[in-house]
Symmetry: C2
Subunit: 191 residues, 2 copies
């Protein structure tokens, strides 16, 4: 533990965006979970919610290795419970989902409290998820493939959120309460 | 083969951006190659160059399955040869590389002929690649992790290129010669 490391931990926590989160519905491939958590850390997403039918150890493993350690992963028993939790915390849930009512991701205001819902690798966002979400967003596709890799889709949208929040000055002041920053620093110093 | 499928193939080719390509230097994990080719297809990148020490079958396998079939993968014996090919075709090579001279990717003009150079999962962009490239670009990171997954990094930059090219009207007219579009349609109709 060096002074520089402690400083970087504090800087990270001072960039965290408490009202920007993700919700993974049955996303299960370890490399996808790992890539998503890496992106969350880079953009300042402090928490990822995961719904997993099989109580995947992969989610927990991803959460405790590499960059996963710096992003809180909260697991839920079912999708409605997860969505209730997130909406209850004041965030709009946007499903990354190719539907008829989907809006281009570049036209959505991600500076407002929001949570990005991503679907499983094969099944995509469930009918239930599409129904309970506050809106759907799509990334325009100009080829023959119908969809992007889920961690790619997550990142494209999250870095648009980063761009918008940078422009709005949301990274300039700490947005987590100081007490929470200190509590997290202590946790990170004692893994 | 349906009329609709043929129409979608033509539409895809009419969106291809011949002067927007990628160069993968020792990128080897199959899931990363697959995700990158999926992104290329979605953004209109018609060709990916790959340099692989072990003459990876994985590159060839990624190229022939899923979305890989719609993106041409050209392999090269070594990185200087690959860079010479791309620069010889008039494209600037931008290395996605965290160096002191790296520019924020949002400040780069991707409407000009360019090729994105991505580094290997562990080693990153080689010293040789960093030296031969025309410039370095970085994606700002606000966390404790030092880098993003390579397919995530590729997508974040390529969708910024898509955004810029959409704004510049570069997807409005076919940019591949009609003869090449027809030749490719014939290839795609006879896999
Ligand atoms: C591999 S895709 C799922 C494909 C599935 N066959 C379907 O119909 O959605 C996994 C997840 O990535 C996200 N995704 C992939 N491509 C997307 C795009 N172009 N726009 C928005 N989200 C996308 C969605 O959340 C999707 O559920
Ligand atoms: C996993 S990273 C390589 C990490 C390696 N330890 C290094 O020092 O570069 C794989 C590739 O993804 C790209 N990449 C990852 N994060 C990036 C970022 N924040 N900005 C630009 N490119 C990035 C780079 O091309 C990099 O070579």
């Amino acid at each position: 533990m060096t002074a520089r490391r402690l400083h970087r931990m504090r800087q990270t926590l001072e960039h965290r965006q408490p009202d920007l989160q993700v919700l993974l519905d049955q996303v299960h491939k370890p490399h996808n979970l790992s890539a998503i958590l890496r992106t969350c850390d880079a953009v300042g997403v402090p928490r990822a919610h995961a719904v997993s039918r099989h109580q995947d150890f992969t989610v927990h493993r991803a959460a405790s290795s590499g960059t996963g350690q710096w992003v809180d992963v909260q697991t839920h028993t079912d999708l409605p419970a997860a969505i209730r939790t997130v909406q209850g915390a004041g965030m709009k849930v946007y499903a990354a989902h190719l539907s008829e009512v989907a809006v281009d991701y570049r036209a959505v205001d991600f500076t407002q409290p929001c949570c990005l819902l991503l679907g499983a690798e094969k099944e995509g966002v469930s009918a239930e998820g599409a129904e309970l979400a506050d809106g759907h967003v799509i990334i325009p596709m100009f080829g023959l493939g119908a969809s992007l890799n889920v961690s790619v889709a997550a990142a494209v949208i999250l870095f648009e959120a980063q761009r918008q929040r940078l422009a709005a000055g949301l990274y300039e002041q700490p947005r987590l309460p100081e007490a929470e920053i200190r509590r997290t620093l202590v946790e990170w110093l004692h893994p």
